[in-house]
């Protein structure tokens, strides 16, 4: 009897490990709640400010999304303020899609080389180079764009050299490392036995890469590209330095234009809180936020589809 009680007492006593466990849980839960609160607060803040354009300033959502002239301080011919965000929305999408289109083949090609053709060189040279490129601050990219890309564009196509084309060139270099290293991860995740099965059937290495490895890695590669697009869409500083910052519908790739981010960074310091000019910028920020949620959603959907396959 005595021993049973002793045992029970011993088992029920909170050990040091058990106490530590409770503390650990408490700390991580607090950290989690804090992060959730911050995220919710940011979204709430941007949303409340962004919606003000439509609620307090009575701009219609349709005018905002489809209007082609952006001049929030001035009333247009119809007496309403000119807050057409279409030029910036088009600019952002154009620059994002173009840079993704240019970067994808380079990224996948490099990833294939690193992972399939010459893994040794890939690990020794390309891996550190990619990591280094990811770490370069965007202002450096913007500065190089301004002093190299813009003059080159000017020399070839005439005009000022500022515009979507220069922005695409800069963004291409900026997203390339991210897309490359994520593509390499996607290829690395393809099981080795797929490659062996293919080679044992008499497929050449190229056939194996093309028909088996890239096929199997498609969801991962798509995620890499969407990730790069999200990064391009949200990039502000470097783009702002080379795009020309004219809130006009881009009528060519080499005419000065603007993106959502570039208008935001150039404008937000020059407006008064609560004014229409300020609210309109918050609305642009809301569009950005919404788009980054969409990119996130796409990445998740691809991930889920990849798992189901």
């Amino acid at each position: 009897m005595k021993t049973t009680e002793q045992l029970e007492a011993k088992l029920k006593r909170r050990s040091k490990a058990a106490k530590l466990e409770i503390w650990g849980r408490l700390i991580s839960l607090t950290a989690l709640m804090l992060i959730v609160a911050v995220v919710v607060a940011i979204i709430g803040f941007v949303a409340s400010k962004g919606i003000a354009t439509f609620t307090s300033n009575h701009v219609s959502l349709w005018d905002f999304l489809s209007g082609k002239s952006w001049n929030p301080g001035v009333n247009g011919a119809n007496g309403k303020p000119e807050v057409g965000a279409l030029p910036m929305i088009v600019g952002s999408f154009l620059i994002t899609i173009l840079s993704a289109i240019v970067a994808t083949p380079f990224a996948i090609g490099t990833a294939v080389f690193m992972n399939e053709i010459s893994p040794n060189k890939g690990a020794k040279i390309l891996q550190p180079v990619t990591e280094l490129l990811v770490g370069i601050p965007s202002v450096v990219y913007g500065f190089i764009g301004l002093s190299v890309v813009v003059p080159t564009t000017r020399a070839i196509f005439g005009g000022s050299g500022f515009g979507i084309l220069s922005g695409t060139c800069v963004l291409f270099v900026m997203i390339l490392p991210t897309v490359t290293s994520m593509s390499a991860d996607a290829l690395r995740a393809v099981p080795r036995y797929y490659r062996e099965a293919s080679l044992a059937l008499g497929a050449t290495q190229w056939q194996t890469i093309y028909k088996v490895v890239l096929r199997a890695a498609t969801p991962g590669l798509m995620t890499a590209v969407v990730f790069g697009m999200a990064r391009a869409f949200g990039e502000a500083l470097a783009v702002q330095m080379v795009i020309g910052n004219a809130a006009l519908m881009p009528n060519s790739l080499v005419s000065p234009s603007a993106t959502l981010t570039s208008v935001l960074t150039t404008g937000i310091g020059n407006t008064v809180m609560g004014s229409l000019q300020n609210n309109a910028l918050w609305s642009l920020a809301l569009v950005l936020l919404f788009m980054s949620l969409v990119f996130n959603l796409i990445i998740r959907l691809i991930g889920r589809k990849g798992r189901l396959q």
């Binding site: 099981p191 036995y193 797929y194 062996e196 099965a197 293919s198 080679l199 044992a200 059937l201 008499g202 497929a203 050449t204 056939q207 028909k211 088996v212 096929r215 199997a216 396959q309």
Partner: protein, 274 residues
């Protein structure tokens, strides 16, 4: 007394016993001469000098790490990028271990099935059509026909004939392994190499797989690595015993299992190993 007898027996037995084949009905189709395999500096296979009889099943047995997979993978040059393989691999009179050999064409003739069933994440149909399409067979009718005969030969047709467009990843382990066999034989190889194809399967699937192999013997020369000695005894005509990177004994399966010439073989097949 006992000890003495054992010692005498051991001394009477040879250290190594490898026969040469001479069955006119089943001529030698593949043989290795002085095959050595190195992983970097480490030698993993010291003596590979076996002959394989056409349309027969040859089993490679031996403890794990004895070099069976190393040897088997060298036969269709799957070790090319991993290891250095020296020596000759004579396939119908041609040394296929020369650098000038087109390994892709050679692998069409010497197919391989792996330990772990490894169907592609494609449909059953596309798995089998894969190697055919690589070789330019694209006619729907022709593909349909080969897919059907391959699946029939692999004894899988009846189970999947209505699900050809379903993902191969949904198949059970035994079915997936038979799909891999169907995929390998779709391009009509001469020789089929199998590396412990049943080790991931349950006993029923294993039995079915063995029946399949026995029926495939009619069309193909089969070389199978197995750690299952009963399996070797059940299905093979010849057996090679590997130990520590060497072929210690090679003879007919009945010889190996009833009257081995080498003491170590005797210990291994009777379960007194180690």
């Amino acid at each position: 007394m006992f000890v003495n007898n054992d010692v005498k027996n051991a001394m009477a037995m040879e250290e190594r016993h490898v026969i040469k084949l001479s069955d006119p009905d089943h001529p030698v189709i593949l043989s290795t001469e002085d095959l050595h395999v190195y992983y970097g500096k480490k030698e993993a296979l010291f003596e590979g000098d076996l002959e394989f009889a056409s349309n027969q099943i040859t089993a490679l047995i031996g403890p794990s790490g004895s070099g069976k997979s190393t040897y088997l993978r060298s036969l269709n040059r799957m070790n090319d990028r991993i290891a250095t393989v020296t020596g000759k691999i004579m396939y119908r009179g041609v040394d296929i271990n020369q650098p000038s050999i087109d390994v892709y064409e050679m692998r069409r003739r010497v197919g391989m099935v792996f330990q772990r069933p490894n169907p592609f994440a494609k449909s059953i149909y596309d798995n089998i059509a894969f190697a055919l399409r690589l070789r330019g067979v694209t006619g729907k009718h022709k593909l349909d026909e080969i897919v059907e005969t391959s699946l029939k030969q692999a004894a899988l047709w009846d189970q999947v004939k209505d699900d050809l467009n379903k993902s191969a990843l949904a198949l059970s382990g035994g079915q997936a392994q038979r799909l891999c066999i169907a995929r390998a034989i779709a391009i009509k190889p001469d020789i089929l190499l199998l590396d412990e194809p049943a080790s991931a399967l349950d006993p029923v699937s294993t039995g079915q797989l063995e029946d399949t192999l026995l029926s495939l013997k009619e069309h193909y020369t089969i070389i199978i690595v197995t750690h299952n000695m009963q399996q070797a005894a059940r299905i093979s005509e010849y057996t090679a015993f590997f130990n520590q990177g060497r072929v210690l004994e090679y003879d007919t399966t009945s010889h190996i299992f009833t009257n081995p010439s080498v003491q170590v073989t005797s210990d291994y097949v009777s379960g007194n190993f180690g």
